[in-house]
């Protein structure tokens, strides 16, 4: 993220940065903060370089003294994955936007990957990464980072691609008119324009990543289980040992970590990215961040960014210069044969892949298995539908109430966003204890866990929608004494509907994903099991039954995609057409 700052400010001569006056107080604070951060990174990185045997000598323990270190390792893993996702996004999404042929493959792939559970990938990739660095922790670390990466990258790449495709035509014409080279165009136009959406998606990705940390830190290879030091491993151990206090510690540590990176990284970045929002009039409400204001006042900061500035300058220097073609390459006639070949190639590859999967699955599984899985998927779908409906019944009225009161909305909106970022699976043990104690049926009582973490999307979107209902509409409703059900039917619900659909779409997608961890929950030896597709995938993963994992994921993907296409998209289109207050 940070490398964009100097680019946006324009590349300054290095000599000007050195012409410093005496550092001010903000500098001192920033210096301490940044040095501390650097120390933490080095401390965490030390552990990565060690041999694998070290993990057996120093297994994860439930000693609170180690917890900060574990939290650090986990956070570093998350950010490593986030940077990998960013790099992936910049390369792949740009490729998809610039090359029509690459886009033909990349775009549908991203669209599917972002709505599909990736937990199953884990088992396939660990062996590969461990083979890269035999006997080193680094290999396992990379496998864990990759697992987190697979839960973060797709929506970022998709958002970046969509931004690149919606660049205003006049800015595009200016860039072409002046003959900006591809590199310069990327730094001046593409990257800044896409930044706000990208930052928002990075935050969403970070929240999504937490969900998979628990699963990715305890990795099973064959018969041995490698446990990387981290909050996820701590949590797994605490659950296995039925240590209630340890879970409390983990929840606390996670809350602190999320709060810290929210305040020190995401808020400043959001405040900074605001300048790239494509609007021609200054908006009244700008995102605020005390940390950003602090950093902005410092004079030492440009020095810190000098390496990144240097990289940008180097890129521009190596840049071949004038782009010769002002006209977007018209690959119409010349490549008609090429197109045909390309389409044929894609078709062949798709057929081959489908055939491979079917052959692989069919070797061990029969049609009955497929029917069973579809039955289970229907069960999970029923859960998702009922839960979304229930959550809507609860949160829509509350959200509207809050949204219509600006003072409350201002205070509660960040809370709702924080709750959405909090990994709900950390809280599962508490639910398990209650269920076991009261002897509830797991089939029903495990269901709410699926929506524990995702319901907040409904809440904060409804809050946003309700605050956006124009005052004149509300005044008109008041004037005519519209109240009760009529008020809900004709004022509030239509007003929030587009926002609600966005929230419910996110919540439902998240719930499908969450079903994998929510339908099978354990507490010590106690294992609660609800029948559903999520449980099926989780069981198959635990048993190392790859054909079943593949089948389960394929069916879930189909359901999620069908759900999006047949339910949410039409609703969304309806909202856009009829209810958007423009």
């Amino acid at each position: 993220m940070k490398e964009m700052t100097p680019i946006a400010r324009g590349v300054r001569p290095f000599s000007r940065m050195l012409r410093l006056t005496a550092p001010n107080r903000a500098d001192a604070i920033a210096f301490v903060l940044l040095t501390g951060l650097a120390m933490l990174v080095f401390r965490g990185a030390e552990g990565i370089a060690e041999p694998l045997s070290r993990l057996r000598i120093e297994p994860v323990t439930l000693d609170p003294a180690y917890l900060p270190y574990y939290a650090l390792r986990t956070t570093l893993r998350m950010f490593a994955a986030l940077f990998a996702s960013l790099a992936f996004t910049l390369v792949v999404a740009t490729l998809a936007a610039r090359s029509r042929r690459a886009g033909q493959i990349i775009v549908p792939a991203l669209d599917i990957l972002q709505s599909v559970p990736i937990l199953g990938f884990l088992t396939f990739t660990v062996t590969f990464f461990m083979g890269l660095f035999p006997g080193r922790i680094l290999g396992v670390e990379l496998a864990a980072v990759f697992a987190i990466f697979t839960s973060q990258a797709w929506n970022m790449a998709f958002s970046f691609y969509q931004s690149l495709r919606s660049i205003p035509s006049d800015l595009d014409e200016v860039s072409r008119g002046f003959g900006l080279s591809p590199v310069r165009r990327f730094l001046r136009l593409d990257l800044p324009f896409a930044t706000p959406a990208l930052v928002w998606n990075m935050m969403m990705s970070m929240s999504g990543g937490w969900f998979f940390v628990v699963a990715s830190e305890a990795i099973t290879v064959g018969n041995t289980t490698v446990t990387l030091p981290g909050i996820g491993s701590w949590l797994a151990l605490a659950i296995a040992q039925r240590d209630f206090t340890a879970i409390g510690w983990a929840v606390g540590a996670m809350a602190v970590v999320i709060l810290l990176y929210d305040q020190f990284i995401f808020r400043p970045v959001v405040a900074w990215a605001d300048r790239f929002r494509f609007e021609q009039t200054a908006s009244s409400e700008r995102p605020q961040s005390w940390a950003y204001d602090l950093f902005r006042r410092t004079r030492l900061l440009p020095l810190l960014f000098a390496p990144v500035t240097g990289l940008a300058r180097l890129l521009l220097m190596l840049d071949p210069g004038h782009a010769t073609a002002r006209i977007a390459k018209a690959d119409k006639q010349a490549s008609r044969i090429g197109n045909a070949i390309w389409t044929a190639l894609i078709g062949a590859a798709v057929l081959f892949a489908a055939w491979t999967i079917i052959a692989y699955v069919a070797r061990t599984l029969s049609w009955d298995d497929a029917l069973t899985v579809i039955g289970l998927a229907c069960l999970t779908m029923l859960r998702v539908l009922v839960l979304i409906a229930l959550a809507s019944l609860i949160w829509v009225p509350i959200g509207v109430w809050i949204g219509l009161r600006p003072k409350w909305a201002e205070r509660l909106q960040p809370v709702a966003q924080f709750l959405a970022a909090f990994p709900a699976n950390v809280l599962f043990p508490f639910a398990v204890i209650l269920i076991v104690q009261w002897k509830l049926s797991p089939e029903v009582s495990l269901s709410p866990l699926m929506i524990l973490g995702t319901q907040w999307y409904i809440l904060f979107n409804v809050i946003a929608g309700a605050s956006a209902i124009p005052t004149d509409l509300r005044e008109a409703a008041d004037m005519f004494r519209v109240s009760g059900w009529q008020w809900w039917r004709q004022v509030a619900l239509p007003g929030i509907f587009p926002y609600y659909v966005t929230g419910a779409l996110t919540a439902s997608g998240g719930s499908w994903n969450a079903s994998i961890v929510a339908e099978v929950v354990s507490w010590g030896d106690e294992k609660l099991h609800a029948s559903g597709l999520g449980a099926y995938i989780a069981d198959a993963t635990a048993a190392g039954d790859y054909p079943r994992v593949a089948l389960g994921i394929a069916v879930m993907s189909l359901f999620v995609i069908a759900f999006n296409r047949l339910l949410w998209r039409p609703l969304y289109a309806f909202a856009e057409r009829r209810l958007r207050l423009a």
Binding site: P168, E173, E279, Q280, H322, R326, I327
Partner: protein
């Protein structure tokens, strides 16, 4: 001014044709355009939307390649290759760059050294009257100031030809006037190193005010319908009778029918039910009838005067006037519009009588409305899906035009109570359910 100096050609456009879209919806936007742009002149491209003037501008700018024909730049006497840059209607400023950075953009792309770049950008900012705003972001500026940035950015690269795409149409009247005057001052005093300016506009007065030569474009497809030389000395006075005469003359040019089009179809592209209808509301039509009917016009008005009194640009006024003509509620004669007796009755009638007059005109002269009504009359439940008509229209025009045409006819039909339309079911019906 252009007549004193010997003219040297700068750009030659020969036989340019351009088509948009593919297959059925393909539209010919430019047809057989030839023109030469000389040094030391301001040339205006005047026409309505859809006359392809922006397409021609972009062809010259090198932003798109016409389907056929050639745009050729004539080498300068010193062997230099002429360059172009462009000013946009929407300003097209990068919101994340400051004024200075926006102005430096083109120089940066040419890899001009930082020091020189800064100096030239500051000089351009100074010239265009943006001093003191160097570090402002575009969103902090007013529309007029933003367009000044756009102008500074375009001239800082020293183009031979400055292309302007409706540069003042997004500004309010006063601001536009100031910018126009400032630009003309800079041009007349020779303070910019530009050899020629080409400006696209649909404002007739603006064209007469600024240009040495005006090319009037006909629409559908875009062709050069007339070339008008403006020899009035600068600064020009809008109230000068010669100025008024020129403006009136251009109105005549722009409303003139080419002999090929049938009287029945007026100036709208397409024939019969496939006629493309412009998005004109019945309220605007009623307003126009009332204006022409009332004092001082009393049923007959010159379009230029009407545009003045209604504060409308020709681009908005002409489609309205032509719609009235299509409905036989008015006649366009030269630069004048004359109401028919039917329209004069309309102006004096009450709401219901007005609707009846309009309904009659609609069914008599708009084939698509006729067609929809006939099908509704014949069908069993007196309903018909709108999809059916949309598909019929799309056989003859692009989906966008089909959508617009159907919307227009729906609005007219609803007002005239000739048929009803329900959005949820996408159905036309004979009557609104009570």
């Amino acid at each position: 001014m252009a007549t004193i100096v010997e003219t040297r050609p700068l750009v030659e456009v020969t036989n340019v044709r351009h088509l948009y879209g593919k297959g059925h919806g393909q539209m010919l936007v430019l047809d057989d355009v030839d023109l030469t742009l000389n040094e030391n002149e301001i040339v205006g491209l005047l026409g309505r939307s859809g006359s392809g003037k922006s397409t021609l501008l972009r062809s010259i700018a090198g932003l798109l390649r016409p389907s056929e024909g050639e745009v050729r730049f004539v080498q300068g006497e010193d062997g230099s290759q002429p360059s172009v840059s462009m000013v946009f209607q929407t300003f097209a400023l990068f919101p994340w760059l400051t004024v200075l950075q926006n102005v430096e953009l083109g120089l940066e792309a040419q890899k001009v050294a930082a020091e020189e770049r800064r100096a030239r950008a500051l000089a351009a900012i100074d010239l265009i009257g943006l001093d003191g705003f160097e570090n402002a972001y575009p969103k902090e500026l007013s529309g007029g100031m933003r367009q000044r940035v756009g102008l500074a950015r375009a001239i800082v690269v020293d183009p031979s030809l400055l292309l302007m795409d409706e540069p003042f149409s997004a500004l309010d009247v006063l601001t536009a006037e100031t910018l126009r005057t400032d630009l003309l001052d800079l041009w007349c005093e020779g303070r910019m190193r530009i050899k020629s300016i080409m400006i696209v506009t649909h404002n007739i007065e603006e064209a007469v005010l600024m240009c040495d030569r005006i090319l009037v474009f006909s629409s559908n497809p875009g062709r050069v319908a007339a070339e008008i030389r403006v020899d009035l000395p600068q600064p020009r006075d809008r109230l000068d009778p010669a100025f008024r005469a020129l403006v009136d003359g251009i109105y005549v040019q722009m409303t003139a029918r080419t002999p090929a089009t049938r009287v029945n179809d007026g100036l709208f592209p397409g024939m019969g039910i496939a006629m493309v209808l412009p998005r004109i509301s019945t309220n605007s039509l009623a307003g126009l009838i009332e204006e022409v009917h009332g004092t001082p016009f009393d049923g007959r008005a010159s379009l230029a005067d009407l545009a003045d009194s209604l504060q409308l640009e020709v681009d908005a006024l002409l489609p309205m006037a032509e719609t009235l003509q299509l409905l036989r509620l008015a006649e366009l004669a030269g630069a004048d519009i004359r109401l028919t007796p039917e329209a004069r009755r309309y102006a004096e009638a009450d709401v219901d009588a007005r609707k009846a007059i309009f309904a009659q005109a609609l069914l008599a002269h708009v084939p698509l409305a006729q067609h929809i009504r006939r099908i509704l009359d014949d069908s069993a439940g007196h309903t018909a899906p709108a999809r059916r008509f949309r598909e019929q229209l799309e056989d003859h025009m692009s989906p966008d035009y089909a959508e617009e045409t159907l919307r227009t006819v729906t609005q007219w039909g609803r007002y005239a109570e000739v048929f009803a339309y329900h959005e949820d079911t996408d159905l036309f019906s004979l009557e609104d359910p009570s």
